[in-house]
């Protein structure tokens, strides 16, 4: 596993500014530098540079095909409200930021984004996700509100950087990303299975958008 450089908030916030990011295995084996991880989120600093935003959902490979998150509901529990874990065709385990292993695909889908600017400013980019109101099998529908997600990442014990939530059938703001910061998480999706719906294959698309002013 490559060393991951991360900064833990360890009580003095200025450490974040000076310590390199994502300390991981590199320092775990040294006696000279031992940082005790606390239950805080990573802070991943992006080197200032030409103004850029970037967003990754799922696989970090060229090709232009979105990943798909899916579930086949067992007949015996259809519409019982027994939540059904969804899986995906994502194979993205490592962070594009530094190749550190953060996700466990296919159950987890990688989501990451950043805003880079020449200098760290008060600007921030807004990460949101938009869906239609429903998934459809061509005739019948399932509300997108039936799909929710949890958020985590390996080694990041703090609060989720891109929080857990539930699609709202429209636009949902997930978080703001400060300039020269990289934010990422792994989302695990669930189908609430609250309704006894018509047979079929229901599909829908979520579009994640990152906007900087």
């Amino acid at each position: 596993m490559p060393a991951r450089w991360l900064a833990f908030f360890i009580g003095a916030t200025d450490i974040v500014e000076y310590l390199p990011q994502r300390l991981r295995s590199l320092f775990m084996g040294t006696a000279m530098l031992i940082l005790i991880p606390t239950a805080e989120a990573w802070v991943l600093n992006v080197t200032p540079g030409p103004r850029t935003i970037g967003l990754t959902i799922g696989n970090n490979v060229a090709g232009g095909t979105p990943n798909i998150v899916s579930v086949a509901v067992p007949a015996a529990v259809l519409g019982t409200g027994a939540s059904q874990a969804m899986t995906s065709d994502s194979t993205q385990a490592n962070s594009p930021f530094d190749n550190f292993t953060v996700c466990v695909p296919p159950n987890q889908v990688y989501i990451g984004g950043y805003l880079r600017e020449l200098t760290t400013t008060a600007n921030s980019a807004t990460l949101s996700v938009t869906t239609t109101a429903t998934l459809s099998n061509g005739t019948e529908t399932i509300p997108f509100t039936q799909i929710s997600w949890t958020s985590t990442s390996i080694g990041n014990a703090g609060a989720a950087d891109i929080p857990a939530g539930t699609f709202n059938g429209g636009n949902l703001v997930l978080r703001n990303i400060a300039s020269n910061r990289y934010v990422e998480n792994c989302h695990t999706f669930n189908y609430a299975n609250a309704n006894f719906v018509a047979a079929g294959t229901y599909t829908g698309r979520a579009t994640y958008t990152l906007v900087a002013p």
């Binding site: 450089w5 000076y18 310590l19 390199p20 994502r22 040294t30 000279m32 600093n45 992006v46 080197t47 540079g49 030409p50 103004r51 850029t52 935003i53 970037g54 967003l55 990754t56 959902i57 799922g58 970090n60 490979v61 090709g63 232009g64 979105p66 990943n67 798909i68 998150v69 899916s70 509901v73 259809l78 019982t80 969804m86 594009p96 930021f97 530094d98 190749n99 889908v109 880079r116 980019a125 998934l135 005739t139 399932i142 997108f144 799909i147 006894f196 018509a198 047979a199 079929g200 229901y202 599909t203 698309r205 979520a206 579009t207 994640y208 958008t209 990152l210 906007v211 900087a212 002013p213």
Partner: protein, 215 residues
């Protein structure tokens, strides 16, 4: 292991970031740059929920939808008092999962219109050459208490003399059928018939088989 100081670690991070971030022009990963003005980028994620076809029928003893199959066949018994034989006094039954000749009737499907029929093999015999036609068995429908259903699956056809009845499943709504009723059987006792025990547990044509099907 070589120990890096803070500055060298910072430099390494900078190198990592500089090397990795500009390489993010990939599928469902997009990078946009501009010196000024708003920046917008998006990436997509598709969702698929596969829902199987299901068909569930319960008449009498059984579980709710999703429970293991229950093969119990209830027996509805009618005993005609001698004083009332053939006087057209309807005779209430005993038995059934709800007692007093009543049963739970549930039908559930998500695959479009269901066909539901009652099927018999002919008149109910006593094994001695005598018989009672199925038209003498009436079925009343009412709200179901457990699980709660309004009378949405009324037994709206008579039991057939033989063979299959007409379809009496209600039309599906958006391909979904989820209905229930209480069915209560009675013997109409319209004719004076020879003494004997007519029907029984799958004997002497004493069984009604309810069949549900969906395409």
């Amino acid at each position: 292991m070589k120990t890096l100081n803070s500055m060298s670690k910072t430099a390494l991070v900078a190198a990592l970031v500089a090397a990795s971030v500009p390489m993010l022009a990939q599928a469902e990963s997009a990078t946009v740059s501009a010196a000024t003005g708003p920046l917008t980028t998006s990436a997509r994620l598709d969702f698929r929920i596969t829902v199987p076809k299901v068909l569930f029928l319960r008449v009498g003893t059984g579980g709710l939808y999703g429970a293991a199959a229950n093969t119990t066949v209830d027996l509805i018994d009618f005993t005609v008092p001698a004083a009332n034989l053939g006087d057209a006094t309807a005779i209430a039954g005993t038995g059934g999962d709800l007692g007093a000749g009543a049963v739970t009737a549930l039908l559930r499907s998500n695959a479009g219109n269901v066909t539901l029929t009652a099927n018999t093999l002919g008149a109910i015999g006593n094994g001695a050459g005598d018989s009672i036609p199925w038209t003498q068995i009436a079925v009343a429908s009412a709200n179901l208490a457990t699980p709660v259903f309004a009378n949405t699956l009324p037994h709206s056809v008579a039991l057939p003399a033989t063979g299959a009845s007409a379809n009496f499943a209600p039309a599906a709504v958006s391909k979904v059928t989820n209905v229930g009723s209480q069915w209560t059987y009675s013997y109409l006792n319209a004719a004076t018939v020879p003494a004997g025990t007519y029907g029984g547990v799958n004997t002497n044509n004493g069984r009604v088989t309810y069949t549900a099907s969906v395409l």
